[in-house]
Amino acid sequence: MTDPEVRYDITLNINGTPYEISVPARRLLSDAIRHDLGMTGTHVGCEHGVCGACTVLVDDRPMRSCLMFAVSAEGLSIKTIEGLAGADGSLHPVQQAFRDCHALQCGFCTPGFMMTIAAGIVDNPAPDADQAREMISGNLCRCTGYQNIQAAVLRAAQLASTAVPR
């Protein structure tokens, strides 16, 4: 029998909660989130960083969790789709906008889009239509044709600006 893999005890800070897990060095962050921690809202669509379905926020920046090892995420602040809504269950502006605009069909790519947009409208709180399209141009969706997702970006920005007066 070949030697079993060395495992590393790490703490992942996800949605404000620390989780202690023991993983091999090669365990992908996406797999650690989905399987070690059982948070299955983060989806894996390609495992090579192209589709964006697995996007989470790492220190507030969108990151493809399939392109990062879990052990590399120690000490970083990770936010997943499960942490997007308010503690009281109130929808984040992006979530509300996706429902309002029918920006999802099968829902598989949706968490990745929403995390991308959640960060995007912080960077650019008032995108125009072209900027909205650009904001989502790194994520693949096979159902919607993107038109309603683009509309949801604009709607989310609008909702966010009303929710948080600047």
């Binding site: 809202g41 099968c106 598989f108």
Partner: protein
């Protein structure tokens, strides 16, 4: 008054869980490495080879390995070939694969060994260590090689021909011989694929206590997967339950079943006494699932001076890949739906369905229609160009007219039924489309732009889509004693919003608030009889079945409450979940109370149910508590089984711009008119159209499966296979026409596939209009278009007649 839900833009009920990350897709059912073992598959790296040995010695050393299965481990029915799902008389040699390769592999990606590890990592480690030895055979790749048949994919299929089929209406040869004009030309369409964002996935658990199997699978046909698993694993049907949970897109590929992994995963779960899961990765989806589209066409058409088609003669070569589990459905659809909204004087279509050493070909959204529509619409443009007529004039000259329905084409459709269109209004659709793009003024706009060096063109594509194919679907509606209305149907959902659309139907039919309605699809525990979700059939089939079931419940509720309220049934109505006397809304009874009364009880389980116990309420001592023709419970079940398909239609127009220097193709405007009969939820239908058009744009401009001569798929990743991002998809403008279907109670037609069908045709038409160069193959890339422009500069055969005529005129023009 209850607000009418049918026809409204009701926001989706499935969204709440999906936007919160609370969807449950198959891979979410069990945590990899914690709750279930995980499978990996050893796949053939060769397109055509004989397996001479499989050596697992090194794999046995891998930590975490649990089990390895090869063909020799398969027993009973599982050792036989996988089913040929749809037999057809045209199939001459129907070869299907084995769950694990037996002796020979016929495409790169074919499953050879099924490896179980404690998690997917260890399963892949072990799979990598399995040594398979091969004796190489010559691969057959592409239609020309298959047709030439120098090498054979299967010795049992001479000429690589899996099926040969001919249908003819009228005297094609005679009409061609006497037609004032004839043209002959060829078309080529390449492979693409569904590529849903979630690939295939299966989870199986065996309950050793009650000897039952539960399988979650990302499928479009859970009831049929259930039957296949029971048959292949030699279980009783009643021992197997199959659930399609949230499914991350299907588009056709998940109608194929049973996949090898759908049988091997439960096989391993039973053998190992542990839950087992298999979740394919993206590369596996490219090389081991299914593709579609690849066809070659040879067309001869005869027509009169008005462009009226007198005879159409079409020869199709269809590449169905290494095996044909789905039969000849795709080429049958191409050969019948090619006719679109038109009525040629005579029509003949002959197809050969050919084996190649590539991934299997099964329906992808549109299912053969995009190719057929490409053939017909390119033909229309050819005729218009030849006669110097407007392209819409030629189309209109061939339309079936609104007063000609039902229109019988005299052919047999994919459901084995006559190809009879039920209803439609094609002239009206064309008129709407022309308005959306200012069709009549575009030619001047094009010429003005050309004078400025801008190459723009307008294209059109028209189609008719047979939707809602049988044989049947069913629906079950139950009012629970807590007032919730539980609805179930057997077909599955992959993002179409069934939980919302079906709830809209029930809310109206039963008279309940839509918030009280909960819909379950694709769960054989809830509804075991179903066919599946394909062919734009879910709304038509299950929508109508559920409506009929709701009517059963409504009638039963009225009957029970009429007795309880001592009112005449005809004086009662159900509004907002209450049965009430018409005109006296204060005299009412909640449906949940009716549900209590519907089930005569001996034992009360809460305050409300006391009313139904034997001493609790009024009852007639001279009658049995349940009448002879009654059943307990406020529930009803009904089925919808149509005599034949219902035919939706639509037309698309695209305005494109070609960069004069780089030949890059941009879509400036995209317009859709669409008629799917009565619309349940316009928001959902528009979403379906948007998504379909986006896939169509992919098929027209970007997506192709790039096989090399050895049968290696060169672009088996999202990095290399160019699926459109947001930046590639234009804004889509859509308008609806509603011509109800006379075939079903709700008057609806299917809409799921519509968007994709005429896109290649419309874009080809637009490029041809912009450049006056004939477009006869799809997809077309900027570099291919560039080469075509260079070639056309030297070869007038590649040019439109319009270009040649106008340039001759120009030569004579002194200015």
């Amino acid at each position: 008054m209850t607000t009418k839900q049918f026809g409204e833009r009701v926001k989706r009920y499935e969204d709440n869980r999906l936007i919160r990350g609370e969807g449950r897709y198959t891979d979410d059912v069990a945590r990899d490495g914690l709750d279930a073992y995980s499978a990996a598959v050893v796949r053939s790296p060769h397109a055509h080879a004989r397996i001479t040995n499989i050596d697992v010695t090194d794999a046995l050393e891998v930590p975490g390995l649990v089990a390895i299965y090869t063909y020799d481990d398969l027993t009973g029915p599982l050792a036989g070939p996988l089913p040929l799902l749809i037999p057809h008389p045209s199939i001459l040699s129907g070869v299907t694969q084995y769950a694990l390769a037996k002796d020979e592999v016929n495409y790169v990606g074919e499953a050879i060994a099924f490896v179980i590890g404690t998690d997917r990592y260890s399963a892949e480690d072990a799979a990598e260590k399995i040594e398979v030895s091969y004796e190489y055979l010559n691969p057959v790749v592409g239609i020309p090689a298959a047709r030439a048949a120098v090498d054979l994919v299967h010795q049992s299929a001479p000429g690589n021909i899996g099926a040969h089929f001919e249908q003819q209406v009228g005297d094609v040869d005679g009409a061609l011989a006497t037609a004032p004009h004839t043209l002959s030309f060829k078309h080529t369409i390449e492979r693409s694929a569904c590529t849903p964002m979630e690939g295939r996935a299966v989870h199986a658990r065996w309950d050793a206590v009650d000897h039952s199997l539960r399988v979650y699978t990302s499928t479009q046909a859970s009831t049929s997967v259930r039957a296949a698993i029971a048959a292949k694993l030699a279980l009783d049907l009643s021992q197997v339950e199959v659930i399609a949970p949230d499914v991350g897109g299907g588009f056709g590929v998940k109608i194929v079943h049973p996949w090898p992994e759908e049988l091997l995963t439960p096989m391993a779960a039973i053998a190992l006494g542990r839950p087992v899961k298999y979740t394919e990765d993206r590369r596996e989806h490219f090389i081991a699932a299914a593709h579609e589209r690849a066809q070659e066409h040879e067309i001869t058409v005869g027509y009169d001076d008005n462009g009226r088609i007198l005879a159409l003669d079409v020869r199709i070569w269809h590449d169905h890949g290494a095996y044909m589990p789905y039969g000849v459905i795709v080429p049958i659809i191409t050969s019948t739906q090619l006719l679109g909204p038109y009525k040629p004087g005579a029509y003949r279509c002959i197809f050969d369905s050919l084996y190649t050493n590539t991934v299997i070909v099964t329906p992808y959204r549109g299912a053969g229609r995009p190719q057929g529509v490409f053939a017909m619409e390119r033909t229309m443009d050819r005729i218009a160009d030849d006669l110097g007529l407007d392209r819409t004039v030629v189309r209109a000259a061939n339309f079936i007219q609104p007063d000609e329905f039902p229109y019988d084409h005299g052919l047999i459709f994919q459901d084995g039924r006559p190809l009879i269109y039920d209803s439609g209004d094609y002239p009206q659709l064309l008129s709407m489309l022309k308005g959306m793009v200012d069709w009549d003024s575009f030619d001047q706009r094009r010429r003005d732009a050309a004078a400025q060096g801008q190459l723009i063109g307008l294209g059109i594509g028209c189609y008719v889509e047979g939707t809602g194919v049988g044989p049947y679907e069913g629906g079950h509606v139950q009012v629970e004693t807590n007032g919730k209305v539980k609805v179930s149907t057997g077909l599955t959902s992959q993002g179409q919003g069934h939980q919302t659309a079906f709830a809209q139907i029930v809310a109206d039919e039963l008279g309940v608030p839509i918030e009280m309605v909960e819909v379950t699809t694709g769960d054989t525990r809830r509804f075991p009889y179903a066919v599946g979700t394909f062919a734009s059939r879910a709304a038509v089939m299950s929508g109508n079945a559920i409506a009929l079931a709701a009517r059963v419940v409504r009638a039963k509720a009225i009957k029970i409450s009429a007795e309880a309220m001592e009112a005449a049934p005809e004086d009662l109505e159900i509004v907002d979940g209450f049965v009430r006397v018409k005109g006296s809304p204060d005299q009412s009874m909640a449906l949940q109370t009716v549900a209590v009364l519907s089930n005569p009880l001996r034992y009360a389980f809460d305050e409300a149910t006391k009313a139904a116990t034997q001493f609790g309420g009024q009852n007639d001592p001279d009658k049995p508590p349940i009448a002879d023709d009654e059943e307990p419970g406020l529930e009803g079940r009904d089925y919808y089984s149509p005599i034949r398909s219902t035919f939706a239609a639509g037309m698309h127009a695209a305005i494109v711009q070609i960069d004069a220097a780089t030949s890059e193709i941009s879509i400036l405007k995209y317009a859709v008119v669409h008629d799917c009969g009565n619309v349940i939820n316009p928001m959902i239908v528009e979403g379906q159209i948007h998504g379909g058009v986006a896939q169509g744009v992919g098929g027209a401009l970007y997506e192709r499966m790039a096989y090399d001569e050895y049968g290696q798929l060169q672009n088996a990743s999202f990095m290399d296979f160019l699926m459109p991002y947001a930046t590639e998809i234009p804004t889509i403008e859509a308008e609806h026409l509603q011509t109800p279907s006379p075939l079903n109670p709700l008057g609806i037609k299917g809409a799921g596939e519509a968007g994709v069908i005429p896109v290649s045709a419309a874009i080809a038409s637009a490029i041809e209009d912009a450049l006056d160069i004939r477009i006869a193959a799809m997809p077309i890339s900027p570099s291919e278009l560039h080469d075509l422009r260079i070639a056309a500069a030297a070869d007038s055969h590649l040019r439109t007649k319009r270009f040649i005529t106008e340039n001759e005129n120009t030569k004579g023009d002194p200015s």
